[in-house]
Amino acid sequence: MIGLEGVTIRFGERVIVETMSFSVPRGRSLAILGPNGRGKTTTLKAMLGFQALNAGRRLAPKIVGYVPQSASYSQRYRVLDVVIMGRAARLGLFRQPGPEDFAVARAALDKTGALRFESAYFDRLSGGERQLVLLARALATGSDVLVLDEPAAALDLANQHRLLALLGQLRAPRDRAIVFTTHDPNHALTVADDALLMMPGAHPLFGPVEEVLTPDNLERLYGVAMRLVDLTGPDGVLHRAVLPAFAGMKAA
Amino acid sequence: MRSHLPGASVVRTLTLAAAGLVFAHGAALADPIVFTDQEKREVRLEKPAERVVSIVIPMASTVVALDGGTKKLVGMNPTAKSAIVDGILGKIFPEAKDIPSDVTAPNFVPNVEALTAVNPDLVIQWGGRGEDIVKPITNAGLNTMLILYGTEELTREYMTLASRAIGRPERIGELVEWRDRVQKDIEAKAATIPDGKKPKVLYLQTALSSMMAAGTGGNYNDWYIKLVGGTNAAAELKGTVAVNKEQIAQWNPDIILLNAFEAKLGTDWVYSDPILSLTNAAQARKVYKLPLGGYRWDPPNQESPLTWMWLANLVQPEIFNYDLRTEMKTAYNTLYDYELADADIDSILWIDRQGDAAGYSRFKAK
């Protein structure tokens, strides 16, 4: 379980969020939605414990599987060496990772489909590949909470699709809490149970996706008119999607 | 080291006298004193200097010796003062402890405020070390005389110049004549020594924190080692540089000379060292710390002939047999008008610290 309780965060005079409360129990996933500069990242940092709170408290396990938006290292590490770092909290100061830890790391890489480049240098990978490695590292921590910072922001459509499919797979067993930030409400519709909308005015809206992702709320969130549309997915099943009202070409 | 022939030195002195100045004893006090210092600068004094500051370390005690008292010395280097206060001069001239030593930092950078405060009419400073330590003095409008370190010839020359500057030219003839006589005497006796009979002598300028040995090349220690019939064990070095014990073992000196600068340094330092104690010098107990008389006997100063005689007796005991105690008494009488007691001599020569060294018994009181 991870969440915030009655949290207020101010940057000087500016109030980012006020008495915000939400929680993500094991088995559910949360999408934090909003335009840039509305406090998505701040909320994420607060959940991870990297953000000083002006009021309220943070509910989180000791170790949270965290996937940063991007990572670049001054040192050149191999993929497996990056993933094995996820075991740090279990090893303590002086212990070195053993065969068991390597097994966990490989299993995590396998889960994200990145095992095939375990010996490659991390800095040689593409953005999408790095995301998979960092996700594997978060899994290798063994934490049942997974927090991803803008996981799809730097990905092209094909990779967005792969990532969402992977998140869907990770969500399916319902054995962990997953939190991610995104600016695209469709990602929330695809893989989130709940959504936190960073509404203007420092009072975010929290609730199940189907309840809070209404055209009205989204219009207030993004400042543009939004429409819910139904479309047929690749599997032939009907999907619900969100589009800005300005999208598309005017039909004759 | 042939350039140190006493003849050459005398000629040089005469040339200087002819070229530099016209000097009349006593009667012509009104005449200005004009001479060329060792950096080829003209020094002009309207009357003999009465208030002298020596930033040069050994020169302070030399000025005392030339004047026969401390009256004219109004400022000196702290390192010179420590030698005077700790050594015999402190006893002969107890008032020396009140002479200011704040006129310079120990590395010869003058303190102009302190300098002008003592109102000197002559400041003696090192030449050959750059303008930075000279300009502050000349800019303050003070009369400055620059001297050069290194050889016996230079030493005699600057002692001569200083004696004129302070209006005691009659003192220098005697002192230079003494240096010349002793040097010639040693040279004549040493000339018969075949090279195979010249022991290897090592002089350590510093020992305790790092070891620096005196090599060749304009080095006064090297010069007097050769003068008395020794060879410089560190002849392959140029100047005074750091060496290690293994190198000393390889040289295997027959005699080791320890400096008088490091107060805590004694011959035990050699005898207790696992490497140095196996050298010929230590095995034969021929390790000697240089005495501290009117000044430390290592560098050139007014007592240098005593250094040479002391060392000659130790390096070539079969050739030289100077009665050092008598020579010291005579010299101190001339230099400082002081009757040396036996206890004074013992303390200058470190009899209590190294009286049991080889060949040292002849320095003991009969």
Partner: protein
């Protein structure tokens, strides 16, 4: 991004990496052993090579034996502690450099930046000037080195946390402060005795190495080496972005200072017995990175072995090339700077060509 998740050629398999690491360590260890053998065999006092080996053997099997001959004493009392001290100091400086470059995520930092070297230099200069030597001098040097580090720690700690950049800047401030005081001490030092000693000592030397000095420096050097070595996996984590490292359960602030403390102990002990020796902490980790890679679990021991071998070779040159001892700082700079330049160029050429 084109084929981001598509099949790609698998890299070197783990087994091959293990073989590679073993080979690297075998070669580096051999380098160190060869350097030690050459170091103990070479010197101004000539001892036949076979005699050297015989003496070393005697020294190993019967260390309490009384040594009477000059050659025995030279080999076992002068050269042996000297080469071992050089190896240990070189290993210590190199491992400190590797660790610091990781912690600061900056390949250009070296042990000098934490104020330790200059702090220790101040203690040494002060000690020499006051006429202190031996054990008390070492104690003084060590404590002023630690004081330098503590000062940097104090200055860089703002609101209970110290940022990397404030640590580097505080190190700079404290170092220049100590450097100024050292200059002042040189300014007032006696030109006939303490000044040359201070200058020489500031340039670094193992000339005064004895078994006592070796044993004095041993706990600090060996303890620091072992501490850093056991933190090798942790150093991988400390080289990550602050937030990332903390999310993985690293108490970055506390662990970074643990690394700094280990470095202070190593550098303080080294400076105390052999003065300031530059370049090793920056050149060796770079060279080690080129052969062993960036993973600190491999990089730290590789740096230590290479640093030890390098130092022994440099020191052997310092004491054998001429009758005079050449200050180590001069040789490490003369050898280190060009080697560094070559490594740097090759490194970036490789990078660009890929």
């Amino acid at each position: 991004m084109v084929d981001a998740l598509s099949e790609r050629q698998p890299g070197a398999i783990q087994g091959a990496g293990l073989v590679r690491n073993t080979a690297i360590f075998a070669v580096l260890a051999a380098c160190l052993v060869i350097a030690l053998i050459i170091g103990i065999g070479a010197g101004r006092f000539s001892v036949a090579p076979l005699r050297v080996l015989e003496l070393v053997w005697h020294g190993v099997v019967d260390p309490s034996r009384t040594l009477t001959g000059m050659d025995e004493r030279i080999v076992l009392l002068v050269r042996a502690p000297r080469v071992l001290l050089a190896a240990l100091a070189g290993a210590g400086l190199a491992i400190c450099g590797a660790a610091l470059q990781g912690v600061f995520r900056n390949p250009l930092v070296s042990p000098d930046i934490l104020g330790i070297s200059q702090g220790a230099a101040f203690g040494g200069a002060l000690g020499i000037m006051l006429g202190i030597w031996g054990g008390p001098l070492i104690a003084l040097v060590f404590s002023t080195g630690l004081a330098g580090l503590a000062l940097v720690g104090f200055l860089s700690r703002i609101d209970g946390r110290s940022e990397t950049v404030t640590v580097i800047l505080s190190g700079l401030v404290v170092s220049s402060m100590f450097a100024a005081v050292v200059s002042l001490l040189q300014f007032v030092a006696d030109p006939n005795t303490s000044l040359p000693a201070i200058v020489y000592w500031l340039m670094g030397s193992f000339a005064s190495a004895t078994w006592e000095r070796f044993l004095t420096a041993l706990p600090g050097l060996a303890g620091g080496l072992v501490l850093l070595w056991s933190l090798r996996f942790r150093l991988n984590l400390l080289s990550l972005e602050e937030a990332e490292a903390r999310s993985l359960g690293v108490r970055t602030e506390r662990e970074r200072w643990l690394v700094f403390a280990a470095i202070a102990v190593i550098v303080g002990s080294q400076v105390a017995v052999s003065g300031i020796i530059g370049w090793v902490g920056i050149v060796i980790p770079h060279a080690a990175r080129l052969v062993a890679g960036h993973d600190h679990r491999v990089l730290l021991p590789a740096s230590a072995l290479l640093g030890g071998a390098f130092m022994v070779v440099i020191d052997t040159l310092a004491r054998t090339v001429t009758a005079a001892e050449i200050p180590l700082g001069v040789i490490t700079a003369l050898v280190g700077a060009p080697v560094f330049a070559v490594l740097l160029r090759r490194h970036y050429r490789e990078r660009n060509s890929e």
